[in-house]
């Protein structure tokens, strides 16, 4: 699934794509999560968490900008995932984005990893923890 956000005739400012990897939905967010697009993401991202895919792995390596309205998308997704015994993991955030997550302490709420491999390993361990 892929969603693009742009005004008429404009290059998309935000692209959100996702695919299912077992019980995890892999999501890539590319571009800028700003203003109206942030509001749409705040509704779209939590909806990707469901009974079949209670966990999200979000690739932030192509994310250039996000405001607090966009952060609410991750917080709401985290809450929904937790209620379904899943989790949200973020990976590959650029320095400015990672700093924003740290300043708001959202990085303490939602695990934030340097690489996708680290995030996948953490998700596997989380799944093993729940199974034991």
């Amino acid at each position: 699934m892929s969603t693009e956000h742009a005004g008429s005739g404009e290059r998309p400012s935000l692209t959100v794509s996702s695919r299912r990897e077992g019980a995890v939905r892999f999501v890539q967010i590319a571009g800028s999560v700003q203003l109206a697009e942030a509001e749409e993401l705040a509704a779209q991202l939590p909806a990707l968490v469901d009974q079949d895919t209670p966990s999200l792995l979000v690739d932030l390596s192509l994310l250039e900008f996000i405001s607090s309205l966009g952060l609410s998308a991750f917080v709401n997704a985290h809450r929904r995932a937790r209620d379904l015994s899943g989790s949200v993991h973020l990976a590959g955030a650029r320095p400015a984005i990672a700093q924003l997550f740290r300043i708001t302490r959202v990085s303490e709420l939602i695990p934030t990893h340097a690489t996708l491999d680290e995030a996948r390993a953490a998700l596997r361990n989380a799944g093993a923890g729940r199974a034991s």
Partner: protein
Amino acid sequence: MDLTQQFGITLADLTEIVIPNDLRSAKQPEDRILAELQRRRYDPDAVFAIKLALEEALTNAIKHGNRNDRSKRIVVCYCIDERRALIGVRDEGGGFRPGDVPDPTADENLERPNGRGLMLMNAYMTCVRFNASGNEVWLLKENPACPQSTPAAASDRP
């Protein structure tokens, strides 16, 4: 608010843009301000900080100040030179008291989806000033790349 006393400017120094009260219209003043920052060669970190604070101010004005009322307007004013960027955002609401906003970084508030905008404005700007009623905010960012910026202002902000 006495702009001369607060920031050493007059109304004649400001560019004013009036927009309808919706998030899509907010892109227009943002694009113009970002273009001016690029023209003045602000570095990427400063541009990110200003863009973030501006979006937080616009979002607050649209959603909270004007309560998403499409009949209302937002006024954005700015004055940007090589030394600093000054941006004002005014809504038509009754205002609020910034001191009443809970700390979003407190443990008990971390899972709240909203409430981080004011904290981010303060974290990323050199200074943030509200008028007495709280429906107008001024964001000041000193250009860290400008030799005339004070060392303290350049070092203690993201």
